[in-house]
């Protein structure tokens, strides 16, 4: 149980001892869609320490498997920029296809799957060779991409077609299409691969899909007292490493829902900043960060509570976030 008071105390102790608490020796990188920057956030100090200029309209952001490089979609420059985490310099680009919004890495870390919103397709990139190795036609406005833990299947959501497309990665072929509620934004596998959860922004629901049968086995709905149902717009989904709890960002509801991932019961709603879209755990899974687009900050959730312990100002219109060990 970590309270803000205890946290401040431990931070003070850290400063005195100059001994890094490994649990918090992390750095977060936040893509700021409106600023054309990446905010570098020191999670020990709990503050933004640097702002790195990048291409236009940075959105999707990821770390390479070795933690050495940040990949960021510069959507309006039609490219993915590669940033060295040590020097914070842009060291290269990946051929993304037009208007890349978001992407996912294969578990082995060698392939990158990018949704190209304007072209109704997913582009597959070999990261080491910096080459396009596949293009897969999908539905209208492909958005969320998720790779199964075994690396065989890619799930891509299409916002206007309203489907989760299951793609055989080896054959680059769609094997199933699952109709979900309006404007599916994000897909996430459980760590054990047993379920894929897909959020529908305008449907206000999460569809829990069995990846073997491609059937929706459950729909999760949300209700917050005093809020119009239209304001509840689920986006990002994260599972704790044990798959016991899911955290779901609810967009303009300004809340993160805490869901029992076994019973699908919504246990709690955590008030964060405005228009919360994307989420990322620290590598030790003790903290969850949220990007709050309209309040220009990130919230830090202590997962053990779970409670919101801090908000940290970043750039304008923060979109995505990743965390690396320092």
């Amino acid at each position: 149980m970590q309270t803000p008071m205890m946290l401040r105390l431990s931070l003070a102790l850290l400063a005195i001892c100059l001994a890094g608490d490994p649990a918090r020796a992390f750095t977060a990188y936040v893509s700021n869609e409106k600023d054309n920057t990446i905010s570098v956030v020191d999670l020990q100090e709990m503050k933004t320490i640097k702002s790195v200029p990048v291409g236009q309209r940075p959105r999707g952001i990821a770390l390479t498997k070795d933690g050495q490089k940040i990949l960021v979609c510069a959507s309006d420059d039609d490219t993915i920029q590669v940033i060295d985490t040590g020097s914070l310099q842009i060291t290269g680009e990946l051929p993304s296809g037009p208007d890349p919004e978001t992407f996912a890495l294969s578990p082995s870390g060698d392939l990158l799957f990018i949704s190209n919103e304007n072209d109704n397709r997913v582009t597959v990139i070999d990261i080491a060779d910096r080459k396009v190795v596949g293009e897969i036609p999908t539905g209208v406005e492909p958005e969320g991409v998720a790779v199964s833990p075994d690396g065989t299947t890619l799930v891509n959501t299409s916002e206007t077609t309203n489907m989760a497309h299951f793609i055989d990665i080896a054959r680059r072929k769609i094997v199933a299409n699952v109709l979900v509620d309006p404007r599916p934004r994000f897909a996430m596998y459980k760590h054990d691969g047993s379920e894929v959860w897909v959020s529908s922004e305008l449907g206000g629901t999460i569809s829990v899909i069995d990846p073997a049968s491609h059937k929706i086995k459950q729909k999760i709905r949300f209700a917050v007292q005093g809020l119009r149902s239209e304001a509840i717009q689920p986006i990002d989904i994260r599972f704790t490493p044990d798959d016991v709890t899911a955290f779901i960002a609810l967009g303009p509801a300004n809340r993160v829902a805490v869901v029992d991932a076994k019973t699908y019961a919504v246990k709690n709603y955590l008030l964060v900043g405005q228009r919360v879209w994307h989420l990322a755990f620290t590598p030790d899974a003790k903290y969850l960060l949220t990007t709050n687009g309209l309040s220009n900050d990130i919230s830090v959730i202590d997962v053990s509570g779970p409670t919101v312990i801090k908000s940290i100002p970043v750039g304008r219109l923060p979109w995505g976030v990743v965390v690396s060990p320092k």
Partner: protein, 393 residues
């Protein structure tokens, strides 16, 4: 062996399907060819205004349809004032078209609805804003995608009240349509606590719009037309036929903003709208048609997407099954306006946020914060269920 069999059968169920299995959904488009003159060159109506929106949505539907074994065709049927619209509808009927988008004035919508009723045709009204079509003249086989005058007036009124500009000078054109729109503004003023300090009529005396020397005259006329008004905050122009409203900004006697039919206008779409993924739609549209997307394009796009959405949910190409789903409780369509659009089941009017555009940018989107409703805030725009006189037949 078993595994490969399973893989084969999965493939058969997914991915693009062969033609033999594809069900065709044919949608008609009755295109009104009478074009009204515009005050600004920039506002001249493109020849494919509306139709282009429907074509883009048909493309979008077809991308989705390939996964479901559905394909969409759009049949364009241009009509002029002297043509018989019912004959045009019949010729669509002979091509097995059960769903028809109409870009026509209200009286023709009504004729088409009644003619289509016997043959089970559903009309999607994408242009006529007449409240009467949703009220005393409502029909069970007409889906209204275009907003009503009362929705548009309420959308602007909420913003003006929120802005604390409650005193309006109402400048009304002399066409019958203008009288209806003026009624809508009077109702909105009363509803949201604004006050019309005075009404003035601008008579349409005919003639060309802007001409080589017309500018000089306009500069004299507009200040005089607005001279000597009681204290007011904003001039609300009511001019559906583009006779004078476009001349008002910067020419009023008192320095006041202009809203309504010029200045800050309530619209269903604006080429500047990029929120909620709107930039993607704008990109797709410009790429295909090499021009910007208009409100009528958006209304046509939305109508066609409503058909696609209902067809994919109902998993059917049968017009009756599509309409049953669309009229059911689960129907909603996403249209880049931040929330699902749904149908009012008492008159089949599409609920929708209304954009307020200054012609360059989207200034605001109504409903405005603080205008509350027990069902949905979208029902603060236009005639609500308790007020309706519609009895669906």
């Amino acid at each position: 062996m078993l595994a490969s069999l399973a893989a084969t059968s999965l493939l058969a169920l997914s991915g693009p399907r062969s033609n033999a299995e594809t069900a065709v959904i044919a949608v008609g488009y009755l295109r009104w060819m009478e074009r009204r003159p515009a005050i600004s060159l920039l506002d001249q109506q493109p020849a494919d205004d509306g139709l282009a929106g429907a074509q883009l949505a048909a493309d979008d539907n077809n991308t989705t349809g390939q996964f479901l074994g559905q394909s969409y065709t759009l049949i364009d049927k241009p009509i002029r004032a002297e043509d018989d619209p019912v004959a045009a509808l019949r010729s669509l009927g002979s091509q097995h078209v059960g769903l028809v988008l109409t870009d026509t004035p209200a009286d023709i919508v009504l004729k088409l609805a009644d003619a289509g009723k016997q043959s089970g045709v559903t009309i999607f009204n994408i242009r006529a804003p007449n409240d009467s079509l949703r009220e005393e003249q409502c029909r069970g086989n007409v889906i209204h995608v275009a907003p009503t005058r009362s929705m548009l007036a309420d959308a602007l009124a909420q913003y003006l009240v929120w802005k604390k500009w409650p005193r309006w000078l109402l400048a009304v054109g002399s066409h019958p349509d203008d009288a209806l729109l003026a009624d809508a503004y009077r109702r909105s003023a009363k509803r949201f606590g604004a006050r019309i300090v005075q009404e003035r009529t601008y008579k349409d005396t005919g003639g060309a719009r802007q001409t080589d020397t017309g500018l000089v005259q306009t500069q004299q006329q507009m200040p005089v037309f607005t001279q000597g008004a009681p204290e007011y905050d904003v001039l609300v122009a009511v001019d559906e036929n583009e006779v004078f409203a476009g001349y008002l900004p910067y020419r009023t006697w008192d320095p006041r903003p202009v809203a309504g039919s010029a200045g800050l206008e309530p619209v269903t779409w604006d080429a500047s709208s990029e929120s909620w993924g709107g930039a993607q739609l704008q990109n797709r549209f410009v790429r295909l048609f090499h021009r910007r997307m208009t409100g009528l394009d958006m209304q046509a796009w939305t109508a066609m997407r409503m058909i696609g959405e209902a067809a994919s949910r109902a998993n059917s190409a049968d017009p009756a099954a599509i309409m049953e789903y669309m009229k059911g409780p689960d129907f909603g369509v996403a249209a880049y306006k931040g929330q699902k659009l749904t149908l009012r089941n008492w008159n089949w009017q599409l609920r929708q946020p209304i954009l307020l555009s200054d012609g360059r940018n989207t200034v605001s989107i109504s409903p405005q914060p603080g205008f509350l409703h027990q069902v949905t805030e979208l029902d603060t725009l236009g005639m609500d269920r308790p007020e309706t006189t519609c009895k669906l037949r």
